[in-house]
């Protein structure tokens, strides 16, 4: 039996080889080489990494959808490769591609899935909570990306699981659905559910995750809370020099020569969307705002960040395009 505080999922030295592949002269390809992680109940654990980093393979080995080539996996104290219906009834899975039959209608489908459990989450409650009544008469194939994701989440929650796996949960979500889904995830976490999600979006990890594992090329390369990761790799010098990124929206085509020191990097990423990175001082900020005041410019938005999770991620996994 698992004690209440032990991890819901622990993976040690996971290895997964696929193949043999014709493109590698019939050799096996190692897609996961030694990933280790632990996910706690009542926490959101994120696997963050670029596409192809091995995140989905890792969680599919944890779900028993793929058989691992090496290492060990313990899901609620059991081995997913050999466990049966009892374990599956305690684990909810939302796949990246949804996995819902295109010709099905949402409510009969959810009722069918709920029927597989002894004590399911009441379907009516799920429908209301995820706003499924708005499209209950539409077949899966005609749903929008966001509606389909919400239905897939409802299907994963049908059994009222102790562990919930979400593979790229915000893919295709419109802002309203995203808000709805993120609020629900936070509530489920507070109710004690252990949530494991994969994402390639820094913003998802930053908003949702209690603990983040950065996965790159099939390995863990860094881990920690979002705050710990943001602190990582900042040298004492950099901290003293106040390396900051200032983001603001304003009129397109502004020229800040002479306003800001030549050592800072000013970019206009999109027309009217500026980023200023460098050792900014309070005086630089004062000069910039004074210049705005003199020219009658009011920025549409502005924010100052020490470092984004994206910077950390790029520092760790390299900036080259793969």
């Amino acid at each position: 039996m698992r004690s209440p505080d032990s991890p819901v999922l622990s993976i040690t030295g996971l290895i997964k080889d696929v193949g043999p592949l014709a493109s590698l002269d019939g050799k096996m390809l190692r897609v996961v080489s030694g990933v280790s992680l632990a996910a706690e109940p009542g926490q959101v654990t994120a696997l963050l990494g670029a596409n192809g980093a091995g995140k989905t393979t890792t969680i599919e080995c944890a779900q028993g959808l793929q058989r691992r080539s090496g290492g060990s996996v313990s899901l609620l104290g059991q081995d997913p490769d050999t466990a049966g219906a009892e374990l599956r009834s305690r684990v909810g899975v939302m796949l990246q591609d949804g996995g819902l039959p295109p010709s099905a209608r949402p409510i009969p489908l959810l009722k069918h899935i709920a029927g597989m459990y002894k004590d399911p989450w009441p379907v009516d409650e799920l429908i209301g909570r995820l706003g499924i009544d708005a499209f209950s008469r539409t077949t899966v194939r005609r749903l929008s990306g966001g509606q389909r994701q919400r239905l897939a989440l409802a299907a994963a929650l049908a059994g009222n699981p102790e562990v919930l796996f979400l593979d790229e949960p915000s893919a295709g979500l419109d802002p309203q659905s995203r808000q709805l889904v993120f609020e629900l995830i936070s509530e489920l976490r507070d109710a004690g559910m252990g949530i494991v999600l994969t994402t390639h979006l820094m913003d998802d990890a930053q908003r949702l995750a209690d603990y983040v594992y950065i996965i790159d090329a099939g390995r863990n390369v860094a881990e920690g809370t979002v705050a710990q990761l943001l602190q990582r790799n900042i040298s004492a010098d950099a901290a003293q020099e106040h390396i900051r990124t200032l983001l603001f929206e304003s009129r397109p085509g502004l020229d800040f020569t002479g306003v800001l020191p030549a050592t800072v990097d000013v970019r206009e990423a999109r027309a009217g969307s500026y980023s200023v990175t460098g050792a900014l001082t309070p005086e630089d900020l004062a000069a910039l705002t004074a210049w705005w005041a003199a020219h009658g410019i009011m920025p549409g938005s502005m924010s100052l960040e020490a470092r984004s999770l994206e910077d950390v991620f790029l520092d760790i996994s390299g900036r080259e395009i793969r």
Binding site: Q63, G64, L65, G84, A85, E86, R88, S89, R90, V91, V93, L95, D97, G98, G99, L100, P101, P102, S103, A104, H112, I113, G115, M116, Y117, K118, D119, P120, W121, A155, A158, G159, N160, P161, E162, E187, L188, D190, A191, G192, M193
Partner: protein, 252 residues
Amino acid sequence: MSRVLGSAPAPLLRRILLQGKYEALTMLRNGEQLILAVVLPLMALVGLTVTPLLDGLGGTRVDVAVPGILALCAMSTAFTGQGISTGFDRRYGVLRFLSTTPLGRTGLITGKILAVLAVLLLQVLVVGAVAFVLGWQPTTAGWVPALALLVLGAAAFTALGLLVAGTVRPEATLAITNLLWILLGALGGIVIPAERLPGPAQELVHFLPSGALGEALRDAFLAGTFNGGATLILLLWTAIAGAAAIRWFKWN
């Protein structure tokens, strides 16, 4: 939110029955599958009773035709219909998702087999009713072996359908299972007995699941006899295709 997390699985039998019911209803709601499962076999039945194609084979036209039509029904549902729906379920990740629920892989496959049997039962009722109207007089002693053979034939064709659906793309499954349905339906000894086929085909069709099932059902309903050789061939197809499907079926 105050809820106690965690559930237990519903009993195994209930999970399998639920899946069987769900899959059977899905099949019956699909217009194309319904044409393949009911409309085309009925058209073939009527066609064979108004043309002299089956004359001189030891029974009335309808008596010779009906066993073959029932065999065709088994092939429609178990092989073509089941193969195509499984192929697309695989494409859309439905098989993977359902295998993460308490249903699991074994429950999913068992549910599919149940659905095939349920639809086949409906086909037997519909075809049987139309056949009686057309004057069908089956040998009473033939019913027990015939129903057993239909189940065995459905098993062989389900295994073959799953083998195709689990190893190639769904578009290829669609093409292969439809093409084989037409080829085996016309020339596989299923509806048209081997004696009426061109010379080289006659010997071959005895060893095909279509020919074996058609022949064994005709023996049962026309003469009330049990065809051991054809039964053995069906058993072999079931075992070989089943083992191959277990070995090579890809879930994603």
